[in-house]
Structure formats: C-alpha cells, structure tokens
C-alpha cells in the first residue's frame, strides 16, 4: 500500500473480544446478514465456527480462541462451496485461516463475493490435543505465551493483515481496527467507527514480531531440514505415522472429496502385497505411507498456509505441519508466491510460464 492506512481505536474490552459488540452493531444495522466466528460449544469445553444471525448468540463468541479446532477456511468452504447465495457475511478468523480461505477461493472452494474477511494479530494457539485433554486449557493466549504450538512459534505471518479489515492489538497496543480495502472501510463504517488514528505504532510492533519469528522460522525449519534430509531420515520423522490420512482431512487446502491416495490403498491385490513382501523380506502395512505424504505435499505445498491443523489432528504425534512448512517455504519462494497473501496473484499450479523455474541465479528447483 502506498499510503499508510489509518485505523479506528476501539474502546472497551482489551483484545479481540472488543470486536463482539461491533459485530453485533453491524448485524443490527443490517449492513451484513450474518457473522461467521468461533463460539464456545454447548459443553463449554471447546470452540466451533458458527454462522450467526441472531446477535444474542454472540454472547458465546470468542473471536480468537486459545485453540484452533476447525480452521476458518474450512468452515467458510462448508458454507459457500456451492456459492455464497448473496448472503453478506462478516467472517472473523486468524490470518492463517483467512489465508486458507483465500487459497480455497482460488481453488473454487470458497465464494468470497459477499464475504468481508476480518483478521487479527494472532499470538498463536495451544496444541489441540492438550487442550482437549484439559491439561492445557487457557481461556486466552497472549503474545508472550510459551505454550503455543511449534508451528505457531515459527509463524512469521501471525499478524498478516490479509483481511478486508484487520485488528491490531496486544502488548500494550490499544486495539485498533484497520480497513485494508474498500470493503473493510464499509464494514468499519457499519460498526459506527471512523479510521482516524495513526497506525504506525501497530506497524512497528508487527514488524518486530514478524522479524523475530522469521529468524526463528529459518533456524528451526533449517534444523528440521538437516534432521530429515534424505529418504532414511525422512522415514524416521514419519515413523509413527499410522497412515490414517487425518492430516489431509483437517487440512483446509486438501478439499478433494475422495483423495487419490485413499483409492490407491485399495488397489493392490493380496498377491501383489505378498510378492512385494517376498522381494523385500517384509512389507510394512499399511503401505505407501511415504508416498501419501510426498504426494499430498506435491498437491498442496504451494497453497500450504502453515496453519498447523494437520499436526493438531495427527493421532501419532508426527511433526507434520513443520515438515510441510519446511517444504512449502521453498516451493512457494521458487514461484515467488506466499499462499493466501495476495488475492490477485494466481495459484502457481494453474499458471503456466515458459521459464518459470529459471531465476537470475540459475535453476530454482
């Protein structure tokens, strides 16, 4: 953006919960038909995305829960995959979730036509399984929290203002709502706010947060790259995988109704397996675990937003989000692409450029 955007400082509650009355106002005013955001579940023990029309339901709302259950992109896709139907939705989610939604819209799985995305600075989330077990169940996460997921610890886009409207907050920063485009400005107006405040303090905060994370990302994923280089080391990283494909089903990008690798596992005959086992002495079952991960990586690493849903859903403790982040950082940079950051930039897999893999410094891949 050529000109620094201005924002609206919000009074009242500190942090993302300050959004709730504003969303209610927008609903009551009728400029939006519904709000999509996380609500506490009926058992009060988790969170789920709910498309809300009745403002009274917002009492259960928590715009930035301490844990990621279903990603916002998936939630939005479930609603708008077959078209948004003209329903004007304010969709509130983390930057990585919004980036997932943006990637899905490029893949034709989300209809953003009438959706206003509202994102906010994200301090990260705690691991889903620890949250579910109850041994780590904070009511909120702060920016200094040490218990956040490994993938959040290396997230350099945790404050990426990819929404139409973005909330800056935390670490002494007065919550500030910043419209990033026309649609965001309209939403802000509907909330009864004006973008009159300077945003430089927020920008400085975000830039130092991101810089720190970028360095950590380089360092940790670099270590992982060394530790998992070569087929044997990679196999050790994936050793506990039970081939349940739950990473794929939690992934916002993997949208195929029937995955190619789910069909593949039924295609081998008993005799084929026996012959393979005889040739090698033994065969681990289920087969094709490595093939599945590499294949999935091939299919979606260019769109991977490092949201960590895969790792949260893994019953076998595989650091799968980190492995995918490690690979997708490279594949995306080879195409000068960062998933979900630019709505106009077409997805590399559907863009053909004759010399796309030849950079100034020679071959990129």
């Amino acid at each position: 953006m050529s000109e620094a955007p201005r924002g609206a400082t919000i009074q009242g509650e500190e942090g993302p919960r300050a959004l709730v009355p504003l969303l209610a106002r927008a609903l009551e005013k009728g400029t939006s038909d519904a709000v999509l955001l996380p609500l506490r579940t009926p058992g009060q023990d988790s969170y789920a995305f709910v498309l809300v029309k009745d403002p009274r339901l917002l009492r259960q709302a928590d715009p930035l829960p301490p844990v990621q259950t279903v990603t916002g992109g998936r939630a939005l896709s479930s609603l708008t995959r077959h078209g948004g139907g003209g329903v004007r939705i304010l969709a509130v989610m983390r930057p990585c979730e919004a980036r997932g939604a943006i990637e899905l819209s490029k893949l034709g799985q989300v209809d953003l036509k009438d959706v206003t995305l509202i994102t906010m600075d994200c301090p990260g989330t705690v691991p889903l399984q620890r949250f579910a077990r109850g041994d780590l169940r904070p009511s909120a996460v702060g920016f200094a929290d040490q218990d956040i997921r490994p993938i959040c610890q290396v997230c350099d886009l945790s404050c990426a203002a990819v929404g139409d409207l973005h909330l800056g907050w935390g670490e002494g920063l007065a919550p500030i709502l910043i419209p990033m485009d026309e649609r965001g400005a309209e939403a802000l107006l509907a909330m009864g706010l004006r973008a009159e405040s300077d945003t430089s303090e927020w920008r400085t905060t975000v830039s130092s947060r991101s810089q720190e994370r970028r360095e950590r990302r380089e360092e940790r994923l670099g270590q992982l790259r060394v530790a998992s280089s070569g087929l044997d080391n990679l196999m050790v990283r994936l050793d506990s995988c039970i081939n349940c494909h739950n990473c794929m089903r939690a992934c916002p990008i993997c949208y195929c109704r029937v995955c190619a690798f789910d069909i593949r596992r039924q295609e081998r005959s008993a005799n084929e397996v026996l012959d393979l086992a005889k040739a090698r002495g033994s065969m681990r079952l289920p087969m094709d675990t490595l093939m599945f991960h590499l294949g999935r990586m091939n299919h979606m690493s260019l769109n991977c937003v490092s949201c960590g849903a895969c790792e949260d859903a893994c019953p076998a403790g595989v650091p799968i989000a980190q492995l995918f982040a490690m690979v997708s950082d490279r594949t995306q940079s080879a195409f000068k692409y960062r998933a979900g950051m630019d709505r106009q930039q077409r997805s590399p897999l559907i863009t053909f450029l004759e010399k796309e893999l030849e950079g100034e410094d020679g071959q990129r891949c």
């Binding site: 058992g43 498309l51 050793d239 506990s240 739950n246 081998r268 026996l274 033994s282 019953p315």
Partner: protein, 362 residues
C-alpha cells in the same frame, strides 16, 4: 478343549518363540504380525523371510491399525495365493469376519493366531515412548487384576476370547501359557511345531477371573463418560468434534470409499442454510456433527466389535468407542447377534424377518 502345547511362562518371549516355530514348520508363505518399525515404533508387517526381517512383536499391546482393516484392503480384490499366518487380537479377527460378510475381504488361505486378550494400551502411549518393562508386567493379566492404563474399550471388553481363530494363545495352569487349537488346521500346526512339548490347555479359572474383572470394568467405563442421555447430552459430548471423521477411517466396519456424510448431497447449500439461519439464529459450520455420528452409528452399530480404534485416533478425546460400544451392545442384543462370531451367521441388517420389532407397529 482341543489339545494344546505348553509354551512356558516367559511372555512375551515365549510367544515370539512359538511364532518362530510355527513359521518354520507351518508351510506359510508369510506372517502378518506386529513388528518393530525402523524408527523404534510398532506397526503391522507382512514378513516372508527370517533374514533381514524386522523384530517381530506378535500381539504387542497396542493397535496402531486395526488388522481387519489392513486385511480388507489387502484381500478386497481376492484371496491370498499362499497360506499366511495372521496374528491378531480377537476384536481384529471379529472385525475382519464382519467385513468379509459384507464381501469386502476374503478369509481364504489366512490362518489366524489370536489370544485370550488382555487388551491394549492407547496409541498415544506409543508416540510418547514405550517402556519395555510395561510389556512384561502386562502379560500377568490372567490373574484378573486390571492392568493400569489400558484403553477404556479394552477395560470393559467382555469378548476377550477369540471365536474363530485356528490357534489361541491362552493362560494355562500355574502361570503357564498354552498354544491351543481352535480348528483342525490349528491342531495339525501345533503337532508339527511342538511334537514333544508337554500338553496344556486353557485354564477355565483364569478365564473366569478375567471375566469377573472385565464385567466390573465394563460397568465402570460405561457409567461415566458414556452416560449420555438424550439429544442435549449428545450435542454436548460431540460439541468438540472437529469433523475430521478419523473415527470412521480407523473403524474396521466403515469400509465405504466415499462416506455418505462426505458426499456432495450432504454438503450445505446456502439456499437451505438461509432458512435454517432464520429459524435457529445460527448454524454451525461445518454443520451436521451429531448427524454424522448418529448416522454412522445407524450404519455400523450392529457390527461394532468395540475395538476402540475410533477413540484411539480421535484428536479431541471424545469417548466415541464407549458410546458406540454402548449402542452396539444394545442393538446386537436385540438381534441376538455377536459380530464376528461366525462368518456364516447372516448380518441382521440384510436379514428380513416379518415379525422383528413387533412393538414398533405394523
């Protein structure tokens, strides 16, 4: 009780040695068993040669995958060409039998070795690192004392004796273990592998002690987390479900390549959602969480073998195996049906009796 061979007291070593002898003398093309993975974990393998084989861990007390599921994937396209020794737990065998009844697998040429089962530990215990001592302590279970830390489904499992295995590893008198025959084939295999071992049989007293403990365990596990009554309780317990459907993917009975609940017709259309939004004020996205679980229950509860794999893979710890066990037991009792007991026994859902459920009306 058929003739069996005494294999000693030192479990799991005695079991490994017995399997080794069966492999040497049984004329098998391969052995399907749990074994050590290269990274030190445990998974199923089809092993054909002794040389270079992974360390075999037959009946190691975890269930990384349901063997019935793996066997289904393997034999969906037809029978195994040569004889294979398959070493699985009773619920895995029963699950496979159920799926064979649905014409999704084939029992031919598979010789089953199973066990009077002590249950298994949660999968999460494997990824957290395995203490070898735990395995040795585990095999003391025939004394009837509950083993700490087993999966809830196993703590309350009263179907711990296999129905259709050719060979059964069973507690024998005085802390010994016996390899007993469950079929003629099993008897021949024992004679060949253990021509001079002292004869031994299953100890009914140990079975009784286990049955008492399991009945108590069953009461215990079903009375807490699975104490769910009515729709509002269901909404609460499944409220934290993330809709990953891992439970159905780990289930030995759920074999559909494309689950109904993942099909296009179950997906929301905004035209319909709009109406619901008006009426309810809000709709969960994705919707249909409870519907999925109830629907899956409707599809497979009659064949549920309560193996517990669904709960093992649930990332949010929903007591799904206990809920399904509870409903499964109730449904199965109505049909006097024990899933996996006999491959010739017809499935209640494709057997029509004009008088069944008379109380439900004409």
């Amino acid at each position: 009780m058929a003739r069996g061979a005494d294999i000693g007291t030192e479990m799991p070593k005695a079991l490994r040695e017995a399997v080794q002898r069966l492999m040497e003398t049984g004329g098998f093309e391969g052995t399907f068993t749990l074994a050590r993975t290269p990274g030190g974990g445990v998974d199923y393998f089809l092993s054909t040669k002794e040389e270079g084989a992974p360390e075999l861990l037959p009946l190691h007390p975890v269930m990384p995958n349901h063997a019935g599921r793996l066997l289904r994937e393997m034999t969906l396209g037809g029978a195994m060409r040569g004889k294979v020794l398959v070493i699985t737990r009773p619920c895995e065998l029963r699950g496979f039998v159920e799926i064979v009844k649905r014409l999704q697998g084939c029992l031919d040429n598979l010789v089953f070795l199973s066990v009077v089962c002590g249950g298994v530990f949660p999968l999460s215990m494997v990824s957290a690192g395995w203490d070898g001592k735990r395995t040795e302590e585990y095999w003391a279970y025939p004394d009837g004392r509950p083993v700490q830390g087993l999966r809830p489904a196993c703590q309350g499992c009263t179907e711990f004796i296999p129905y259709t295995a050719d060979l059964v590893v069973a507690p024998s008198a005085n802390g010994h273990w016996a390899l007993t025959a469950g079929s003629e084939e099993g008897g021949r295999l024992i004679e060949r592998a253990f021509p001079s071992a002292p004869a031994a049989e299953m100890d009914p007293k140990a079975l009784e002690a286990m049955a008492v403990a399991r009945k108590a365990g069953r009461e215990e596990v079903l009375s807490h987390e699975a104490d769910v009554k009515g729709l509002s309780d269901l909404v609460k317990v499944f409220g934290r479900c993330i809709g990953c459907h891992a439970c159905s993917k780990a289930c030995p009975i759920c074999y559909c390549t494309l689950c109904t609940f993942e099909s296009s017709r179950m997906e929301d259309r905004m035209e319909q959602s709009k109406g619901q939004l008006e009426v309810k004020g809000g709709i969960r996205a994705p919707a249909g969480t409870v519907l999925f679980h109830i629907g899956r229950m409707g599809h497979m509860a009659v064949s549920c073998v309560a193996c517990g794999c669904c709960q093992d893979v649930c990332p949010v710890g929903i007591p799904v195996s206990l809920l399904f066990k509870k409903v499964g037991e109730a449904v199965q009792a109505r049909f006097e049906y024990v899933p996996g007991r006999d491959v010739k026994e017809a499935l209640p859902i494709n057997t029509f009796q004009p008088m069944e459920f008379k109380e439900m009306g004409e």
